[in-house]
């Protein structure tokens, strides 16, 4: 009897954790998009007021942000400073590849972040500011979608996990 109870509670716990993980993925997506928007806001200031060269600006931004978004900026800066002849886009892409497992973005979000690589360092000040602002706008839309999805899916997945676990237990018993 005790074994059955133990097994049943393990099944319920495992199913609930599964549902919880999926719902926290939606939460992480929202948080990471917010971090990215914050990063772009900081970069706007670095470009606009400080005229800080990009590697330095990336280091400054990377230090202030949480992982993994901050790490992407820091690693891109390290690659730029290594002087291996890589373009800004290549450095950005490599940094993204190294951190893609930790980034919980949707496909659309990843595409946007990937597109950021094309933005860096190719334009004069006003062009650079406009391009950052454009990506910001697109990221805001992505954030709105991600927030909607989070609100929609958060409770569903948590309950679904729990109820799924209970259903399984009932059938097995």
């Amino acid at each position: 009897m005790y074994f059955k109870l133990l097994g049943a509670s393990l099944i319920v716990f495992a199913a609930y954790t599964y549902g919880y993980n999926i719902s926290s993925m939606y939460q992480k997506r929202v948080l990471q998009l917010k971090e990215l928007l914050l990063a772009l806001e900081m970069l706007l200031a670095e470009v606009n007021y400080g005229l800080t060269p990009l590697p330095r600006a990336f280091i400054n931004v990377g230090k202030k942000l949480k992982k993994p978004v901050g790490t992407v900026f820091s690693e891109a800066a390290t690659l730029m400073l290594k002087s291996k002849g890589l373009s800004a886009q290549e450095c950005w892409k490599k940094a993204l590849e190294r951190n893609c497992d930790a980034l919980q973005l949707s496909r659309n979000g990843m595409e946007l972040v990937d597109r950021l690589g094309l933005v860096w360092g190719q334009c004069d000040k006003s062009g650079q500011l406009k391009q950052i602002a454009l990506i910001q706008e697109l990221l805001r839309q992505a954030l709105e979608e991600a927030e909607n999805e989070y609100h929609k899916n958060d409770k569903i997945w948590k309950y679904l996990g729990l109820l799924g676990g209970l259903t399984m237990v009932i059938f097995l018993l």
Binding site: T52, P53, P55, G85
Partner: protein, 331 residues
């Protein structure tokens, strides 16, 4: 210059597009040592210029015919621009307008491309199609001979001097070494050095990168980098109390006014101007006017007759007496 090859490998080649970098890094040392310029032009051969000649560079080293040389591609140029501007064109707009960038080590990269003009002035250079990497060379000791003529032992003062030479005659090298010698006060001065202010509009004298001099201009020297000469001289006078002001390539009306201001404030001025003879300089309206006022106590003529920085003549400013002439075998 034993360091030139090392400087090219360490400071310049990391900023070249990978294919060009590979070619330059594999050049024989004896060629790198004398390299003065590396020229990249769109769809044209990669060339290096050295004292007294030039070489076309092929994928495996110098080649004889231009058609065998490596042709610089669009990708090479785009990448090189990204690398020299540290991926930040927005941070170097002003330099791009002027057509050059200074890179670590004080080397200068000249640029040519399509100028975007707004209101009759260059707004920005776009579609860069040529790069000229000019290797910065510091010739320590280049100013020792001249210093003896521009230092007044009795008053302990540096005399107002104008260095005149055609392009690539060694004006900037001389000014740089004079700054170092006067600032450090060694040798001929026989006394503590003087406070030197360099107004370096084109970042050529001190070769500043992000505000820090990359070449040795002495430890009592303050450098106002990329600052318009006239404004810079006034700023120096107001706040940095220099005893000697050094500036490059004067020629505009504003520069002349600021120089007059400095001279009247009791500060020694050493400046340079393009020209090959006194007559030629006098014909230029602004420079002619300045020379007629006899502010400059020494006029120093350089040429590249026997290599860059050949000291041709030194004239006493007021009476025009020659103090030194190469043709007459010295003093």
């Amino acid at each position: 210059m034993p360091n030139t090859a090392g400087n090219i490998i360490k400071q310049i080649s990391p900023l070249l597009a990978p294919k060009v970098r590979f070619i330059v890094e594999n050049l024989p040392n004896e060629l790198l040592v004398k390299t003065e310029e590396i020229r990249l032009r769109h769809s044209r051969p990669l060339i290096i210029i050295w004292s007294g000649g030039e070489s076309y560079l092929g994928p495996k080293g110098p080649v004889v015919a231009p058609r065998d040389a490596y042709m610089v591609s669009d990708e090479d140029l785009v990448k090189t621009l990204e690398l020299i501007s540290s991926y930040s064109l927005y941070a170097y707009e002003e330099e791009l307008k002027q057509g050059y960038l200074t890179i670590p080590g004080g080397h200068r990269v000249g640029l040519a491309g399509r100028a975007v003009v707004e209101g009759g002035r260059i707004k920005v250079l776009r579609d860069i199609s040529s790069f000229n990497f000019r290797v910065a060379r510091q010739v320590k000791g280049a100013g020792e001979k001249v210093l003896a003529f521009i230092f007044d032992r009795r008053s302990g003062r540096i005399l107002h001097s104008l260095v005149i030479s055609p392009p690539q005659g060694g004006k900037t090298t001389l000014l740089r070494d004079l700054a170092r010698l006067i600032s450090e006060g060694a040798g001929i001065l026989g006394q503590a050095g003087k406070k030197v202010g360099i107004v370096d509009e084109r970042s050529e004298i001190a070769g500043c990168y992000q505000g820090v001099p990359q070449l040795d201009v002495g430890f009592r020297t303050d450098v106002l980098d990329a600052c318009p000469k006239a404004e810079g001289i006034m700023l120096m006078l107001r706040s940095l109390s220099p005893q000697v002001i050094i500036t490059d390539e004067i020629g505009r009306g504003d520069d002349v006014k600021a120089i007059e201001e400095a001279i009247h404030a009791g500060v020694s001025v050493i400046a340079s101007a393009h020209g090959s003879s006194l007559e030629e300089i006098c014909q230029r309206p602004i420079m002619g006017g300045l020379l007629q006022k006899n502010y400059f106590e020494r006029l120093i003529f350089l040429s590249n007759r026997r290599g860059p920085g050949t000291l041709e003549m030194i004239i006493e400013g007021e009476k025009g007496l020659p103090l030194y002439s190469l043709r007459h075998g010295g003093e």
